[in-house]
Amino acid sequence: MGKTNKPEMPRLSYQGLLVLRVFLDHPRKELCGADLMKLTDLSSGTLYPILLRFERYGMLESDWEDMAPEEVGRPRRRLYKITRHGAQIARQLLANVNKPWSPAIPSPVLAEG
Protein backbone atom coordinates (compact mmCIF):
# COMPACT_ATOMS: atom_id res chain seq x y z
CA MET A 1 0.00 0.00 0.00
CA GLY A 2 2.97 2.25 0.45
CA LYS A 3 1.74 3.87 3.64
CA THR A 4 4.24 4.41 6.33
CA ASN A 5 2.11 5.46 9.24
CA LYS A 6 -0.99 3.31 8.82
CA PRO A 7 -1.77 1.28 11.92
CA GLU A 8 -2.22 -2.44 11.37
CA MET A 9 -5.57 -2.53 13.08
CA PRO A 10 -8.46 -0.42 11.92
CA ARG A 11 -10.34 1.90 14.21
CA LEU A 12 -13.08 -0.17 15.77
CA SER A 13 -16.49 0.65 17.10
CA TYR A 14 -19.32 -1.42 18.46
CA GLN A 15 -20.89 -1.35 15.01
CA GLY A 16 -17.64 -2.55 13.49
CA LEU A 17 -17.60 -5.49 15.87
CA LEU A 18 -21.17 -6.30 14.87
CA VAL A 19 -20.14 -6.47 11.23
CA LEU A 20 -17.18 -8.70 12.06
CA ARG A 21 -19.42 -10.97 14.14
CA VAL A 22 -21.75 -11.44 11.18
CA PHE A 23 -18.87 -12.33 8.89
CA LEU A 24 -17.47 -14.78 11.42
CA ASP A 25 -20.88 -16.40 11.69
CA HIS A 26 -20.93 -16.74 7.88
CA PRO A 27 -17.25 -17.23 7.02
CA ARG A 28 -17.76 -18.72 3.60
CA LYS A 29 -20.76 -16.72 2.60
CA GLU A 30 -20.63 -13.68 0.37
CA LEU A 31 -22.91 -11.00 1.73
CA CYS A 32 -24.28 -7.93 0.00
CA GLY A 33 -25.10 -4.59 1.62
CA ALA A 34 -28.77 -5.44 2.08
CA ASP A 35 -27.92 -8.75 3.81
CA LEU A 36 -25.53 -7.00 6.13
CA MET A 37 -28.02 -4.28 6.99
CA LYS A 38 -30.56 -6.95 7.85
CA LEU A 39 -28.16 -9.03 9.90
CA THR A 40 -26.53 -6.18 11.80
CA ASP A 41 -29.51 -3.86 12.00
CA LEU A 42 -27.25 -0.98 11.00
CA SER A 43 -28.27 1.88 8.75
CA SER A 44 -26.71 2.16 5.31
CA GLY A 45 -24.80 5.28 6.27
CA THR A 46 -23.22 3.50 9.21
CA LEU A 47 -22.52 0.25 7.40
CA TYR A 48 -20.69 1.52 4.30
CA PRO A 49 -17.88 3.44 6.02
CA ILE A 50 -17.22 0.29 8.07
CA LEU A 51 -17.16 -1.95 5.00
CA LEU A 52 -14.79 0.37 3.16
CA ARG A 53 -12.52 0.65 6.19
CA PHE A 54 -12.29 -3.12 6.64
CA GLU A 55 -11.71 -3.57 2.94
CA ARG A 56 -8.91 -1.02 3.03
CA TYR A 57 -7.25 -2.97 5.82
CA GLY A 58 -7.55 -6.21 3.88
CA MET A 59 -10.01 -7.71 6.36
CA LEU A 60 -12.79 -7.91 3.79
CA GLU A 61 -12.73 -8.41 0.07
CA SER A 62 -15.50 -7.61 -2.33
CA ASP A 63 -16.46 -8.35 -5.88
CA TRP A 64 -19.43 -7.89 -8.17
CA GLU A 65 -21.88 -10.74 -8.38
CA ASP A 66 -21.45 -12.82 -11.47
CA MET A 67 -24.32 -11.71 -13.68
CA ALA A 68 -25.14 -9.27 -16.43
CA PRO A 69 -27.47 -6.49 -15.23
CA GLU A 70 -29.16 -6.30 -18.64
CA GLU A 71 -30.19 -9.96 -18.45
CA VAL A 72 -31.54 -9.86 -14.92
CA GLY A 73 -32.96 -6.36 -15.15
CA ARG A 74 -31.46 -5.07 -11.93
CA PRO A 75 -28.12 -3.55 -10.86
CA ARG A 76 -25.30 -5.86 -9.80
CA ARG A 77 -24.76 -6.41 -6.11
CA ARG A 78 -21.35 -6.03 -4.56
CA LEU A 79 -20.61 -9.08 -2.44
CA TYR A 80 -18.37 -8.95 0.60
CA LYS A 81 -16.41 -11.81 2.12
CA ILE A 82 -14.11 -11.96 5.10
CA THR A 83 -10.46 -12.72 4.32
CA ARG A 84 -8.33 -15.14 6.30
CA HIS A 85 -6.41 -12.21 7.76
CA GLY A 86 -9.71 -10.50 8.61
CA ALA A 87 -11.09 -13.60 10.31
CA GLN A 88 -7.94 -13.90 12.37
CA ILE A 89 -8.14 -10.29 13.56
CA ALA A 90 -11.88 -10.53 14.13
CA ARG A 91 -11.54 -13.65 16.29
CA GLN A 92 -8.81 -12.01 18.30
CA LEU A 93 -10.81 -8.82 18.81
CA LEU A 94 -14.03 -10.57 19.72
CA ALA A 95 -12.19 -12.86 22.12
CA ASN A 96 -10.80 -9.78 23.87
CA VAL A 97 -14.25 -8.25 24.07
CA ASN A 98 -15.75 -11.42 25.55
CA LYS A 99 -12.96 -11.85 28.10
CA PRO A 100 -14.19 -11.25 31.67
CA TRP A 101 -12.97 -7.91 32.93
CA SER A 102 -10.24 -7.86 35.54
CA PRO A 103 -8.48 -4.77 36.87
CA ALA A 104 -4.91 -4.35 35.67
CA ILE A 105 -3.76 -3.10 39.08
CA PRO A 106 -4.84 -5.25 42.02
CA SER A 107 -6.85 -3.47 44.64
CA PRO A 108 -4.62 -2.60 47.63
CA VAL A 109 -7.28 -3.87 50.02
CA LEU A 110 -7.48 -7.23 48.28
CA ALA A 111 -3.71 -7.42 47.93
CA GLU A 112 -3.24 -6.84 51.65
CA GLY A 113 -5.85 -9.40 52.54
Binding site: K3, S44, G45, R56, R77
Partner: protein
Protein backbone atom coordinates in the same frame (compact mmCIF):
# COMPACT_ATOMS: atom_id res chain seq x y z
CA UNK B 1 -67.37 18.45 2.90
CA UNK B 2 -64.15 20.44 3.50
CA UNK B 3 -62.84 17.64 5.70
CA UNK B 4 -63.59 15.11 3.01
CA UNK B 5 -61.77 17.17 0.39
CA UNK B 6 -58.78 17.72 2.68
CA UNK B 7 -58.61 14.00 3.40
CA UNK B 8 -58.80 13.19 -0.28
CA UNK B 9 -56.09 15.73 -1.07
CA UNK B 10 -53.90 14.31 1.70
CA UNK B 11 -54.32 10.80 0.37
CA UNK B 12 -53.54 11.89 -3.17
CA UNK B 13 -50.43 13.73 -2.00
CA UNK B 14 -49.27 10.73 0.03
CA UNK B 15 -49.80 8.43 -2.96
CA UNK B 16 -47.93 10.81 -5.23
CA UNK B 17 -45.04 11.12 -2.80
CA UNK B 18 -44.90 7.39 -2.27
CA UNK B 19 -44.84 6.77 -6.03
CA UNK B 20 -41.96 9.21 -6.46
CA UNK B 21 -39.93 7.89 -3.50
CA UNK B 22 -37.79 5.40 -5.50
CA UNK B 23 -37.02 8.06 -8.09
CA UNK B 24 -36.07 10.59 -5.41
CA UNK B 25 -33.98 7.96 -3.60
CA UNK B 26 -32.08 7.22 -6.82
CA UNK B 27 -31.39 10.92 -7.31
CA UNK B 28 -30.13 11.20 -3.74
CA UNK B 29 -27.67 8.32 -4.09
CA UNK B 30 -26.47 9.69 -7.43
CA UNK B 31 -25.77 12.97 -5.75
CA UNK B 32 -24.04 11.25 -2.81
CA UNK B 33 -21.91 9.15 -5.17
CA UNK B 34 -20.84 12.24 -7.10
CA UNK B 35 -19.29 13.64 -3.94
CA UNK B 36 -17.11 10.60 -3.40
CA UNK B 37 -13.53 10.20 -4.65
CA UNK B 38 -13.47 9.58 -8.37
CA UNK B 39 -12.37 5.96 -8.04
CA UNK B 40 -15.39 5.12 -5.90
CA UNK B 41 -18.13 6.96 -7.73
CA UNK B 42 -19.16 4.31 -10.26
CA UNK B 43 -18.77 1.42 -7.86
CA UNK B 44 -20.85 3.03 -5.15
CA UNK B 45 -23.55 4.22 -7.50
CA UNK B 46 -24.05 0.72 -8.84
CA UNK B 47 -23.73 -0.89 -5.42
CA UNK B 48 -26.19 1.51 -3.83
CA UNK B 49 -28.61 1.15 -6.74
CA UNK B 50 -28.61 -2.59 -6.02
CA UNK B 51 -29.12 -1.83 -2.34
CA UNK B 52 -32.16 0.32 -3.13
CA UNK B 53 -33.43 -2.44 -5.37
CA UNK B 54 -33.11 -4.94 -2.50
CA UNK B 55 -34.79 -2.63 0.01
CA UNK B 56 -38.50 -3.30 0.35
CA UNK B 57 -40.87 -0.35 0.68
CA UNK B 58 -40.70 3.03 -0.97
CA UNK B 59 -40.18 4.98 2.22
CA UNK B 60 -37.41 2.60 3.34
CA UNK B 61 -35.63 3.22 0.04
CA UNK B 62 -35.75 6.92 0.76
CA UNK B 63 -34.38 6.37 4.29
CA UNK B 64 -31.51 4.24 2.95
CA UNK B 65 -30.64 6.92 0.40
CA UNK B 66 -30.82 9.76 2.92
CA UNK B 67 -28.62 7.84 5.34
CA UNK B 68 -25.97 7.35 2.62
CA UNK B 69 -26.14 10.98 1.61
CA UNK B 70 -25.84 12.07 5.23
CA UNK B 71 -22.68 10.01 5.74
CA UNK B 72 -21.12 10.72 2.34
CA UNK B 73 -18.08 12.50 3.73
CA UNK B 74 -17.43 9.69 6.19
CA UNK B 75 -17.68 7.19 3.35
CA UNK B 76 -15.30 9.29 1.25
CA UNK B 77 -12.83 9.44 4.12
CA UNK B 78 -12.73 5.65 4.34
CA UNK B 79 -11.76 5.16 0.72
CA UNK B 80 -8.28 4.07 -0.31
CA UNK B 81 -7.84 7.29 -2.22
CA UNK B 82 -8.70 9.38 0.82
CA UNK B 83 -6.32 7.39 2.98
CA UNK B 84 -3.52 8.09 0.55
CA UNK B 85 -4.37 11.74 0.17
CA UNK B 86 -3.49 14.26 2.84
CA UNK B 87 -6.23 16.56 1.62
CA UNK B 88 -9.88 15.56 1.92
CA UNK B 89 -10.84 14.08 -1.40
CA UNK B 90 -13.90 16.26 -1.63
CA UNK B 91 -11.49 19.13 -1.92
CA UNK B 92 -8.99 17.57 -4.28
CA UNK B 93 -11.84 17.08 -6.69
CA UNK B 94 -12.66 20.74 -6.51
CA UNK B 95 -9.21 22.21 -6.55
CA UNK B 96 -8.15 22.29 -10.11
CA UNK B 97 -5.50 24.98 -9.85
CA UNK B 98 -4.54 23.50 -6.54
CA UNK B 99 -1.81 25.83 -5.43
CA UNK B 100 -3.73 28.98 -5.90
CA UNK B 101 -6.97 27.68 -4.48
CA UNK B 102 -5.28 26.24 -1.44
CA UNK B 103 -3.89 29.64 -0.60
CA UNK B 104 -7.18 31.26 -1.27
CA UNK B 105 -8.91 28.95 1.17
CA UNK B 106 -6.22 29.26 3.79
CA UNK B 107 -6.16 32.99 3.47
CA UNK B 108 -9.90 33.19 3.58
CA UNK B 109 -9.99 31.13 6.74
CA UNK B 110 -7.43 33.36 8.34
CA UNK B 111 -9.18 36.58 7.49
CA UNK B 112 -12.41 35.14 8.83
CA UNK B 113 -10.53 34.40 12.02
CA UNK B 114 -11.49 30.78 11.67
CA UNK B 115 -8.02 29.24 11.64
CA UNK B 116 -6.62 29.77 15.06
CA UNK B 117 -3.61 27.51 14.74
CA UNK B 118 -2.24 28.55 11.38
CA UNK B 119 1.13 29.50 12.79
CA UNK B 120 1.53 26.12 14.44
CA UNK B 121 0.60 24.42 11.23
CA UNK B 122 3.08 26.50 9.30
CA UNK B 123 5.86 25.13 11.46
CA UNK B 124 4.97 21.58 10.59
CA UNK B 125 4.27 22.10 6.95
CA UNK B 126 7.86 21.88 5.71
CA UNK B 127 8.21 18.58 7.50
CA UNK B 128 4.91 17.53 6.05
CA UNK B 129 5.99 18.35 2.52
CA UNK B 130 8.99 16.09 2.99
CA UNK B 131 6.87 13.01 3.54
CA UNK B 132 4.53 13.65 0.65
CA UNK B 133 5.22 13.77 -3.02
CA UNK B 134 4.19 17.41 -3.11
CA UNK B 135 6.89 19.83 -4.07
CA UNK B 136 7.41 22.85 -1.94
CA UNK B 137 4.87 25.34 -3.02
CA UNK B 138 6.53 28.10 -4.94
CA UNK B 139 6.79 31.41 -3.19
CA UNK B 140 4.75 30.26 -0.23
CA UNK B 141 7.10 27.94 1.55
CA UNK B 142 5.44 28.31 4.89
CA UNK B 143 1.99 27.34 3.82
CA UNK B 144 0.94 24.00 2.45
CA UNK B 145 -1.77 21.50 2.18
CA UNK B 146 -1.69 20.75 5.88
CA UNK B 147 -3.18 24.15 6.52
CA UNK B 148 -5.95 23.32 4.18
CA UNK B 149 -6.69 20.05 5.92
CA UNK B 150 -7.01 21.89 9.17
CA UNK B 151 -9.07 24.63 7.63
CA UNK B 152 -11.48 22.20 6.10
CA UNK B 153 -11.80 19.82 9.00
CA UNK B 154 -14.70 21.80 10.37
CA UNK B 155 -16.23 22.28 6.95
CA UNK B 156 -16.77 18.75 5.85
CA UNK B 157 -20.35 19.40 4.99
CA UNK B 158 -19.63 22.20 2.57
CA UNK B 159 -20.89 21.27 -0.84
CA UNK B 160 -18.72 21.46 -3.94
CA UNK B 161 -20.75 24.36 -5.23
CA UNK B 162 -20.32 26.25 -2.00
CA UNK B 163 -16.56 25.84 -2.18
CA UNK B 164 -16.55 26.95 -5.77
CA UNK B 165 -18.57 30.02 -4.97
CA UNK B 166 -16.29 30.81 -2.04
CA UNK B 167 -13.23 30.48 -4.25
CA UNK B 168 -14.81 32.49 -7.06
CA UNK B 169 -15.87 35.24 -4.72
CA UNK B 170 -12.44 35.41 -3.19
CA UNK B 171 -10.72 35.62 -6.54
CA UNK B 172 -12.88 38.52 -7.49
CA UNK B 173 -11.94 40.21 -4.24
CA UNK B 174 -8.29 40.22 -5.31
CA UNK B 175 -7.04 37.57 -2.98
CA UNK B 176 -3.40 38.60 -3.42
CA UNK B 177 -4.02 41.30 -0.88
CA UNK B 178 -4.84 38.62 1.66
CA UNK B 179 -1.99 36.40 0.61
CA UNK B 180 0.42 39.25 1.11
CA UNK B 181 -0.91 39.80 4.58
CA UNK B 182 -0.72 36.11 5.30
CA UNK B 183 2.83 35.89 4.04
CA UNK B 184 3.84 38.58 6.49
CA UNK B 185 2.90 36.43 9.46
Amino acid sequence: MVNFLLGLLGKLLAAELSARCPEIAQKIISSAAKRLPHSLQHRMLEEWSALLDDTPGDLSKLCVAISLYWKRSKIADESEEAAESPVPTLVTDILTDSEEDIFVLVALGKTDGEISNLLDLNRTVVEYLKITSVQKLSGQSNIGRKDLVSFLRTRRNYSCSKFRSVIGHFRRARHWRYLKRLHGL
